[in-house]
C-alpha cells in the first residue's frame, strides 16, 4: 500500500495507486511549492493527511491549517509576495469566506505564483449547497484548470504552479468530489533539491495598495494577463480533441471538461455513430479559436457540463458573434443543473439530442429499502445536550443551528437547529430572530471550531448589543466532522484557548458551563439563561467520543469495552432510549423488546439517565 510519508519524501519517481488528493500533495512537493495552507473541508482534507505525514523536518512543503479559509488564503498570498510558490485549498463554500481577499489577488503581482485549489461538491455530498465556483473566476479574473482524474490532478498542478510563478499570478485548480477521491495508478516524478527560500518582498513589485488611481492600472493588467492565459489555452495540450475512430454521415461533436468529459468519452464508445470530443483542461478563459474551429468542423455539437450553464453560455455567445451555423445542443430543464455528472447521465443527455445514438436503457424494478440518515455517534455529547435542551425548551422556541457534527441535530427525533445558512451564522441569525420578538425564545448552537472560524464576529456583536438570545456552545475540542483536525488553542499549536475566558473578556455577562452528559445541570442552566434578559452563553463540553475511543483503542489494542445493557424485567417499553434519546446502539426488536448492540455501544452511559424505568445499567 502507498505509504503517505513515502509519497511525500521518496526522492526518485515511482508509480502507485493513488487518490487524487494524495497525488496532488506529491505534485506540490515535486513543484517545489514552499507554503501550503488550508481550512479543513470535504472533499479536500486528505491533501493535508499526506502533507503532514512525514515528521516536520522532512516535510517538503510548509503546511498549516488556518482558523478559516480567508486567513488561509491570505497566508498563502503573503508567502507568494515573498517570492515563495504557494497553494491554498478548501471546500467549495470556503471560497465565499475567502472571497474578500480573493478578488484582489489577480490585481497584484504575486512573484511566487499561487494555486487556489477548490474542492467543489456537485451533488452536495458534504456541503450546504453545490455552488459552481467557476463563476468566481469570472469575477476575480483568475484562470481555471479542471483536471478529470488523479493523473491529471498531479500533472496539471505541476503545470499550473509553474505557469503561475512565471506569470506572477493566481490560478484556480478546480477539483470536484469524485476527482479528489478517485484512485488510479499515477506515475510520479523526482523531487527537486530543497530550494533556499529567502524573503523577497519588494514594494517595487507593486503597487500593492489598490486605492484611488491605482485601481484602473491594476485592473487593466489583470485583464491583459487573462488575455495571455487565453493565448496559452489555444495551444496547450490540456485542451485537446479526441477524434472518433471514423466519421459519420453527420459530423457530430461534443465539448466538455473535467470528469464530465471522461463520462462522455466512456459512454460515446458504445454510441451507434461517431462523436468527436473537445476536452478542455483550461476552462477559463476559453480557447475561442480552438472552439470556433471545432464548431465549424461539425454539423452539431453537444455542450455538456456539470452544475451551471457556464461554458454553455459563453460558447453560445461566441457562436452567435461569429455567425456559426453549427447546431448547438445542451442539457434541458432544471434537473440537469443539479447533482454530479455520471456516464449514465451523460448518455441520457446526449441521447435526448441524438436518439439514434443509444438504445433505450433497460428498466430494472427493485424498490429502495428504509432510508438511513447520518446520525451522531454512540456516546456523542451533542446527543446528550440536544436531548436535554429539547425537553427544557418552552413551546414556540426557535433554535438556530450551525455547521459541524451538531448540524445533524436538525434531523428527527431531536429537530434542534431549524435554520442553517453558513459557517458561524448562528449567533447573528438568532440575534435577528430576537428583534421585535418578545414572545418566542431564540436559542443558537455553535461548535468550538466553527466558533473560531466565523462565529466570533457574531458573538462580539451579540455581546456588545446584549442581544436577547441564548447561545449554547457545543465544545468537543476538535474539528470533528472533517476528520479531527486541531482547532485554535489545542492540538499541535499549544495550550487550549479557554473558551470561558474568551467569552468573559468579550463582555458576556451571563455565562455558565457544564459537561454535556450532565443533562439536569444543562437543563437548569438553560432555563436560567432563557429567564435572563439579554445575551446568555452556556458552554456544554464533552470530548468527541469518536476521537477519544480511537485514541484509546490505539493506545491499548484489544481494549474491551463494557456496553450498557437493558434489564428486560425492568424495561417498560417506553422506547425513550431507542426513539427519543435515539442512540444508534439500541435495537428495537419486532417483538417489542429493546437490547443493546454490543458492536456499537462504547459504554459511555449517557443514556442511563434518560430511562423512565431505570432499566439501563452496567453489568456488575
Amino acid at each position: 500500500m502507498l505509504s503517505l510519508p513515502g509519497l511525500m519524501t521518496e526522492r526518485k519517481g515511482f508509480s502507485a495507486l493513488a487518490m487524487g488528493n494524495h497525488a496532488l500533495a506529491r505534485a506540490m512537493a515535486e513543484a517545489g511549492t514552499a507554503v501550503v495552507t488550508s481550512y479543513p473541508g470535504s472533499p479536500t482534507p486528505e491533501i493535508a493527511d499526506a502533507l503532514l505525514a512525514p515528521p516536520e523536518k522532512d516535510r517538503p512543503c510548509h503546511f498549516e491549517f488556518a482558523v478559516n479559509e480567508k486567513v488561509a488564503l491570505e497566508m498563502a498570498a503573503g508567502a507568494s509576495l515573498n517570492g515563495h510558490p504557494s497553494a491554498v485549498f478548501f471546500k467549495s463554500v470556503g471560497l465565499n469566506v475567502a472571497a474578500d481577499s480573493l478578488v484582489q489577488l489577480a490585481l497584484m503581482e504575486l512573484p511566487g505564483g499561487m494555486v487556489v485549489i477548490l474542492g467543489d461538491d456537485p451533488g452536495a455530498n458534504s456541503s450546504q449547497n453545490e455552488q459552481d465556483n467557476r463563476w468566481f473566476a469570472r469575477m476575480a479574473y483568475i484562470p481555471v484548470f479542471e483536471p478529470a482524474s488523479p493523473s491529471e490532478v498531479y500533472a496539471i498542478y505541476k503545470e499550473a504552479a509553474a505557469l503561475a510563478r512565471e506569470r506572477r499570478a493566481p490560478v484556480f485548480l478546480r477539483l470536484t468530489t469524485h476527482v479528489c477521491h478517485a484512485r488510479e495508478t499515477v506515475k510520479f516524478g523526482d523531487l527537486p533539491p530543497r530550494p533556499d527560500w529567502t524573503p523577497r518582498f519588494d514594494a517595487a513589485n507593486g503597487p500593492y495598495v489598490p486605492i484611488t488611481t491605482a485601481v484602473f492600472p491594476l485592473k487593466k493588467r489583470a485583464l491583459e494577463k487573462l488575455r495571455a492565459w487565453a493565448g496559452y489555452g489555444e495551444t496547450s495540450s490540456l485542451n485537446t480533441e479526441h477524434k472518433a475512430a471514423s466519421s459519420g454521415e453527420k459530423r457530430l461533436g461534443a465539448i466538455a471538461a473535467g470528469l464530465p468529459a471522461l463520462c462522455l468519452l466512456e459512454t460515446l464508445r458504445a454510441a451507434a455513430a461517431p462523436v468527436d470530443l473537445l476536452k478542455l483542461g483550461l476552462t477559463y478563459p476559453l480557447p475561442e479559436k480552438l472552439i470556433l474551429d471545432f464548431l465549424r468542423a461539425h454539423d452539431e455539437v453537444y455542450l455538456l457540463e456539470e452544475l451551471d450553464r457556464v461554458m454553455e453560455t459563453e460558447i453560445k455567445a461566441l457562436a452567435f458573434d461569429h455567425g456559426i451555423a453549427c447546431r448547438l445542443h445542451s442539457r434541458r430543464g432544471h434537473d440537469a443543473l443539479m447533482g454530479e455528472m455520471t456516464p449514465e447521465r451523460a448518455r441520457a443527455a446526449v441521447a435526448a439530442a441524438w436518439p439514434a445514438l443509444f438504445p433505450a436503457p433497460e428498466k430494472r424494478a427493485f424498490p429502495a429499502p428504509a432510508p438511513r440518515m447520518p446520525q451522531m455517534c454512540p456516546g456523542c455529547g451533542h446527543r446528550s445536550a440536544f436531548y436535554a435542551i429539547k425537553k427544557a425548551l418552552p413551546p414556540g422556541a426557535i433554535t438556530v443551528g450551525d455547521i459541524g457534527c451538531h448540524s445533524l441535530g436538525f434531523l428527527p427525533p431531536y429537530n434542534m437547529g431549524e435554520v442553517l445558512f453558513s459557517m458561524g451564522h448562528s449567533v447573528s441569525t438568532a440575534s435577528g430572530l430576537a428583534l421585535n420578538n418578545s414572545t418566542r425564545k431564540v436559542i443558537a448552537f455553535v461548535g468550538d471550531s466553527t466558533f473560531f472560524h466565523a462565529g466570533m464576529p457574531g458573538l462580539v456583536n451579540a455581546a456588545s448589543r446584549d442581544s436577547d438570545i441564548t447561545l449554547v456552545l457545543l465544545d468537543n475540542g476538535t474539528t470533528a466532522m472533517t476528520g479531527h483536525q486541531s482547532r485554535p488553542g489545542n492540538g499541535e499549536t499549544g495550550d487550549r484557548l479557554a473558551l470561558f475566558e474568551i467569552m468573559e473578556k468579550l463582555g458576556v455577562k451571563f455565562l455558565r458551563e457544564c459537561d454535556a452528559y450532565d443533562q439536569r445541570k444543562l437543563a437548569d442552566h438553560l432555563k436560567e439563561a432563557m429567564a435572563h434578559k439579554g445575551f446568555s452563553v452556556i458552554i456544554a463540553r464533552h470530548p468527541c467520543m469518536l476521537k477519544f475511543m480511537r485514541e484509546r483503542r490505539r493506545a491499548s489494542p484489544g481494549l474491551k469495552v463494557q456496553p450498557v445493557h437493558v434489564a428486560q424485567g425492568s424495561c417498560a417499553r417506553h422506547y425513550v432510549c431507542a426513539a427519543e434519546f435515539a442512540c444508534p446502539s439500541f435495537i428495537r426488536h419486532p417483538d417489542g423488546s429493546v437490547t443493546v448492540n454490543a458492536e456499537l455501544c462504547i459504554g459511555d452511559g449517557s443514556c442511563m439517565q434518560t430511562c423512565p424505568s431505570q432499566a439501563i445499567g452496567r453489568k456488575k
Binding site: 500500500m1 502507498l2 495507486l17 487518490m19 470535504s42 472533499p43 455530498n125 458534504s126 456541503s127 468530489t177 469524485h178 477521491h181 478517485a182 484512485r183 488510479e184 495508478t185 470528469l259 471522461l262 463520462c263 468519452l265 466512456e266 464508445r269 455520471t342 456516464p343 449514465e344 433497460e362 430494472r364 427493485f366 424498490p367 429502495a368 429499502p369 428504509a370 432510508p371 438511513r372 440518515m373 447520518p374 446520525q375 451522531m376 455517534c377 457534527c405 445533524l408 434531523l411 428527527p412 427525533p413 466532522m481 469518536l546 489494542p557 484489544g558 422506547y575 431507542a578 426513539a579 435515539a582 444508534p584 439500541f586 435495537i587 428495537r588 448492540n597 458492536e599 456499537l600
Partner: protein
Amino acid sequence: MAFNIYICGVGGQGIGLLGAALAQAGERSGLTVRSCDTHGLAQRGGVVSSHIRLGADALTPLVPEGGADLVLALERLEALRGAAQYLKKGGKVIYYDTAYQPVSVRTGQAQYPSGEDIAKQVGEIGGEVSVVTLPGIRDPRMQNSALLGRLAALKAVPGLKTEVIEEVLKEILPPTALEENLRIFHSAH
C-alpha cells in the same frame, strides 16, 4: 467490459480501508483499477460506499447504477440498498450479516429487512447471495477480513489473486491484529 464492484455499509465500519485494500490487491494482480470513495457527512452513521472498477475500458471511477457485477456489503440493510441501486442482472451479493438499525426503524416507522427479503429480491433479477457470519469476532472492524475471505474463496472477482489480498492485508493491518484477521480471512472460506 470492466468488472464493477460496489462496496457499502454504515459510516464507521471501515468501508474506506476495505475499498483501498481491494483496489490495491486488484492493481497488484495486474488489473487496471479505477476506484472512488464517498466521504463526508455520511461518515457519521449514514450510508458509506466505495466503488471499484477493474479493466481498461472504465474511464470513470463510479460504478453505474444497475452495473455492479458484485455488491459487497458490511451490513444487511445496506446490502439490500446496494443491490437495489447497483446490482447488475445476474450479479452477486456478498454481505456480512450484522444489523445496524436506522432511526426510522428504532422509532417504529420502518421495517428492517430479513435475510429472506434480500434473497428474494436479488433472486428476482437472477442474482446470487452469499451471507457471511462468524460468531465471536472480537472487534467488528475485523468483519472486513471475513468478507474478503469469502470473496477470495468464491473467486468472486476474476483475476484477483487470494495470495495478493493476503499480502495487502499484511501491509495495512497493525501487527497486533494481524494474526487474528488472517485467521478470520481463512475461516470465512
